[in-house]
């Protein structure tokens, strides 16, 4: 179960906002996490607690292919990102590294910053604990579910090369 307080953002949160390129001279997740969301929310890293959830509107994670972005979010303690839509490369990267994503228009509209929210990845449900409202996330295609169940692309690939 994914549960925590919500940080809410708007449209088109880009990868430069999630992790500015000036910090890309390292690929150490802990170092990257120190600068998560820095250019749009200086307080994020001070406030974020393990389990917390990012909620955003459309096209979350647009821009660069940098996997440093979902890696920084995941390492900062965020348990799940809920958005109306995700940028394509960010979506792949997050699934590949095991950062849970849930897509739901209604949930995003029905959640405010600071609310406590629970996400259930297996059931695809989102509960706003603060208001008691429940939402359904867009189901993953079967292949994506396989990837998620395997624990990400590296675990999936490990199995694949073993059986070859």
């Amino acid at each position: 179960m994914l549960k925590g307080k919500v940080f809410k953002y708007g449209d088109n949160v880009d990868t430069d906002a999630i992790i500015p390129a000036r910090y890309l001279n390292t690929s150490d997740p802990a170092e990257l996490a120190k600068h998560t969301m820095e250019d749009i929310d200086l307080d994020f890293v001070k406030k974020v607690k393990p389990g917390d959830i990012i909620v955003a509107t459309t096209n979350f994670g647009c821009g660069s292919s940098r996997e440093h972005a979902p890696l920084a979010i995941k390492t900062s303690g965020i348990s799940c990102v809920i958005a109306k839509s995700f940028a394509r490369i960010f979506f792949r990267n997050a699934i590949n590294i095991g950062l849970p994503l849930l897509e739901s228009q209604e949930a995003v509209d029905g959640i405010n910053a600071g609310d406590t929210v629970e996400g259930d990845l297996a059931k695809g449900t989102i509960l706003n604990v603060t208001t008691g409202k429940k939402f359904t996330a867009k189901p993953y295609p079967p292949f994506m579910s396989t990837l998620i169940k395997a624990g990400g692309l590296i675990e999936y690939t490990k199995e694949k090369v073993k059986t070859k």
Binding site: N25, E67, R92
Partner: protein, 418 residues
């Protein structure tokens, strides 16, 4: 099937593919750079294979932070260099490198009909060659390096038709900025964008690279062009392996067809902080600039530099404006030098850098201070993209960037060349 579907079907061993279908693709080229390769290499080591599937299909280019900008980036590049030497893959370091998306077509590494995956969002650039090329993350690249395969979802294709003839100062950059301005930064989310029409037939290869390059800025998975005589002329002297030209079927399907007449189009400028925030240059008003950057994987090719030089010739860069010119590759650098473009730039008070992605992503070689403003031929103007989160980036074509460097405010080339 349309062009994207034809290429993908041929690379996953299927007769037919349809949008939304998950497929296992065999890529021709697997690319990464000094920022994304270190993570790809770390993940590759976890998979449990010792060797990459085929060293002749894997390319690494040091371009984002080289010549190394600091100790940390030097360590990153070293990880990539050591891996490249160990695996015997194609590797381009200082002295041979260029900005990856200028370099790979120039070297004939990417050819028509290829499927290319790259841990860099601007991998879509190679669509100009009639290849299906798309950006991914480092973990995707690590898996592809180990297995020679990658999962993909077949995208729907949006077809763009550009009617009419382009005006004097209008090129590929303006067409793509206009397109993104019209459809938005997620207007082509998950889709392939196919660029067609009279204006495209007449567009140079460099102009096509610029357009395909920015497909990602509309959320696109790929930006595709049909192969024509220009494409074949471009690859003729560069290809040293066979390639295949794919043609769409007569009943090719598109999720949408969008048509514009571009005859009266002006040069376009994208204002902070989204590439979709686009206006014609005549509507810009008095916007002062501190820096003008001419280069990048979007506009760092020879014809871009020639265009900028045609504006800067015999003129001076305005006081308090830094004009930074960055040729995309060593070959472009040398050709620009031989053509005398560097004399024009230097006489005007501009500087010429070694090829690097540097300032485009706020890495180095032209970082902006708080309150500063740049006009740039690069591809993104997000908050903090070129430096301070309090700086601003305006995107434009090389003629507008050069004209603005001279006047010190965002200007049409007409102002200089009238």
């Amino acid at each position: 099937m349309n062009l994207a579907e034809k290429i993908l079907a041929a690379h996953c061993g299927k007769k037919n593919v349809t949008p939304g279908e998950f497929i296992n693709v065999i890529p021709d080229i697997v690319l990464s750079n000094d920022i994304t390769a270190p993570i790809a290499i770390r993940e590759f080591r976890k998979i449990g294979v010792k060797k990459v599937f085929d060293p002749s299909k894997i390319v690494m280019v040091a371009d984002h932070s080289v010549p190394n900008k600091d100790i940390a980036s030097a360590e990153q590049t070293k990880v990539m260099r050591d891996f490249a030497n160990e695996q015997g893959i194609m590797y381009y370091d200082v002295g041979q490198m260029g900005i990856e998306h200028c370099l790979l077509p120039e070297k004939g590494i990417v050819l028509p009909g290829d499927v290319v995956i790259g841990a860099d969002s601007h991998t879509c650039t190679y669509g100009a060659l009639g290849a299906f090329a798309t950006g991914m993350g480092s973990t995707d690249i690590s898996s592809a390096m180990a297995t020679g395969e990658i999962w993909m979802k077949v995208p729907p294709t949006i077809k763009f038709v550009y009617h009419g003839k382009l005006g004097k100062w209008v090129g590929g950059k303006d067409l793509i900025l206009y397109t993104i301005g019209q459809i938005g930064v997620d207007g082509a989310l998950y889709a392939a964008m196919e660029f067609t029409g009279e204006a495209i037939d007449n567009l140079s290869m460099d102009g096509r690279f610029t357009m395909a390059n920015m497909a990602i800025e509309a959320g696109g998975k790929a930006g595709l062009f049909h192969v024509d005589k220009k494409t074949l002329d471009y690859v003729k002297s560069r290809a040293n392996r066979p390639y295949k030209v794919y043609e769409q079927d007569a009943d090719a399907q598109f999720s949408k067809i969008i048509e514009w007449d571009v005859t009266k189009m002006e040069p376009q400028v994208s204002m902070p902080h989204l590439p979709s925030n686009t206006k014609p240059v005549s509507q810009m008003g008095n916007i002062k600039i501190d820096q003008s950057v001419i280069g990048s994987c979007t506009n760092g090719r020879l014809s871009d530099l020639e265009l900028a030089a045609s504006i800067l010739k015999g003129k001076k860069v305005a006081k308090n404006v830094r004009c930074i010119v960055i040729p995309g590759t060593q070959q472009i650098w040398q050709e620009a030098m031989h053509e005398g473009l560097f004399d024009i730039f230097i006489d005007a008070g501009a500087v010429v850098s070694t090829p690097t992605c540097g300032p485009c992503l706020g890495g180095y070689m032209g970082i902006l201070a708080g309150g500063e403003r740049a006009i740039s031929t690069t591809n993104r103007n997000f908050v903090g993209r070129m430096g301070s989160p309090k700086s601003e980036v305006y995107l434009a074509n090389p003629a507008v960037a050069a004209a603005s460097a001279i006047t010190g405010r965002i200007s049409s080339p007409e102002e200089i060349k009238n």
